[in-house]
Assembly symmetry: C2
Homo-oligomer: 341 residues x 2
DNA sequence: TTGAAAGCGCTAACAA
DNA sequence: TTGTTAGCGCTTTCAA
């Protein structure tokens, strides 16, 4: 493991010049710069990030705090962030808060505070005021992804609007009896997300002149199983059966499709189903959905942080709202018998 | 951000004593130790990992190198490793090799070498000799998970045996026409895994006195869609239809179940299906499977590394082979008409 | 059991 | 453009 001294020796310059030549900070003549680089390459020299961090106060490392890794949305955001960080020469250190409360405390009290990271990306976390406080105390840039974090800059899709688009799609097809499968209070991993999607759903109905029927709402936990169960409940009674379901996630929507099948209902013949996400399985099931782009969200979070860490590199487009797109596949169609009002 | 000096001042001792009291290295009287701890707590002092690493040469950080994050197996291994590391006071830095070749090279040439990690966990990676070489040059403990890495200590289930167990389960139920959906050559994310599972499948058949029929083998890419397609192909011809399918992953097995349904076949009435993994969706689909435990594999990898990094802490049980268990659910049963031989 | 002091490997003033 | 030098904050001999 050669050090900066050896490179300096081989190149016939001082360590300061090596540092400057390799980091690009400060002026070095082209000739010495290439001599230094050649020497570094020959020796296989790589800076010690610790020594460098200690001297500069910058770590070139970003902390990502996350409640689960195991779900499509989260791992996709992390992947997107990873790639973007790599391109910028940064490492990504992962802090999974999914464990016990102790683990969570320990992350906040010790790990994040070790000065190991230059900035933090918090994904879909419901943080307590004191947790946000300790993050802010670090005096490091923080950006949230996937939910409003009080007092922090956050990247998230407009859930009300997303739900509205989905519901309006069903309305436009002629549906009137539109059920909604949304989050239960216990699953608050995405803050007010369930609530917001329900709000958008109800707003669209109201504007479409359709009365809101509480019997057409069911709670689930954002999983396929949960969606299946909720849908089974919703669809059981042929007399009170909706002609369409808007599920707040694709996994629940897929559960709904499977439940419909098991009840002998055809999709979209007897039942239209739409979800949110464009989950990796959505296409396979022909699921119409409102796509969101988690990998892109991860990338965007990184861009924002880079802008704050390196004002020079700042990316121009910083306030594009997060995209989402209606994707029509084969799970939605006009209801079999269009009502005549 | 208080430093060690301030703690020393407040506790009325030297910085050396603070370091000793807080790290547990060296002897400090109980009274001063508690005084120091109180002072540290009062000031909210946390060591600077950089300064500490620079002085000790240890980073308390482990690098995890992985080809995808987006799949159940990988994210589960990472989660398991994360929790175990957290308990040991270590951070986890993630290196995703899924991108382009450039990204891959850059990870190996720069990132891992920055002396930022004390050890490396390589998950399901097919590494080139030169990549393994550069890892070994680091002179840091490395352990692989999920596939044999030439020259490295590796944790992986016995894929031949896993496949044998699955196939024997079907044989024991009375099946003779047993198809296999395995990996294609292009999907080598898990090395010889597809091959090994096929080997176990064929060995079990042979021992069961069943001839191997190449027409009963289909390739797929380990995804649900791929399994669906392969199964559709396998099941299309009623005359040549197998009574059971062993898929090399649960996702492909679920695809098979869905394909069977779409062809009007009942599972397990007309077709038994078994997979490998115990994927999160397996239970929902009533899928019989050979479970493996990726989170535990991640944890085990961490234990091994901790054993090498801290010989004192060494966990006794180091060579338990990785567990796998046959889980019988409702996707497997005796074939409808048992042959009379 | 404790303290003084010399680094760990690098960067950034400052001076030349 | 380059070199000298003083740290960055901590750990760890060595001595007391």
């Amino acid at each position: 493991m050669p050090g900066i001294n050896e490179v300096a020796l081989l190149a016939g310059v001082s360590t300061a010049t090596v540092s400057r030549a390799l980091s690009g900070n400060g002026h070095v003549s082209d000739s010495t710069k290439s001599r230094v680089k050649a020497a570094a390459y020959e020796l296989g020299y790589v800076v010690s990030s610790n020594a460098s961090s200690l001297a500069t106060g910058r770590t070139k490392n970003i902390g990502v705090v996350i409640p689960f890794l195991n779900r499509w949305f989260f791992s996709s955001v992390v992947e997107g962030a990873e790639h973007a960080l790599l391109r910028n020469g940064y490492d990504l250190t992962l802090y999974n808060l999914g464990g016990s409360g102790d683990e969570r405390r320990s992350v906040f009290e010790h790990f994040l505070l070790r000065k190991r990271v230059d900035a933090v990306i918090a994904i879909s976390l419901e943080l307590t005021a004191s947790e946000v406080g300790s993050l802010l105390d670090l005096n490091k840039p923080i950006v949230g992804v996937g939910g409003p974090l009080p007092g922090l800059q956050t990247l998230s899709i407009d859930d009300v609007q997303v739900a509205r688009v989905a519901t309006e799609h069903l309305l436009a097809l002629g549906h009137r009896a539109i059920a909604h499968i949304g989050g239960n209070d216990e699953v608050e991993m995405d803050f007010h997300l369930p609530t917001n999607r329900r709000v958008g759903y109800e707003a669209a109905l109201r504007e479409g002149g359709v009365a809101i029927d509480p019997a057409l709402f069911a709670e689930a936990d954002f999983t396929l199983q949960g969606g299946y169960r909720a849908a089974t409940h919703l669809l059981r009674d042929p007399a009170a059966r909706p002609t369409a379901v808007f599920a707040a996630s694709d996994e629940m929507a897929i559960g709904t499709i499977l439940a419909a099948r098991d009840l002998g209902l055809s999709v979209p013949g007897d039942l239209s189903v739409i979800g949110v996400d464009d989950h990796e399985l959505a296409e396979f099931f022909g699921l119409s959905t409102v796509a969101q782009y988690p990998a892109e969200q991860g990338r965007r979070a990184v861009e924002i942080l880079m802008g704050q860490l390196h004002p020079a590199r700042r990316t121009p487009a910083e306030n594009i709202p997060l995209r989402f797109d209606l994707i029509e596949r084969t799970s939605t169609a006009a209801p079999r018998t269009v009502g005549v009002d």
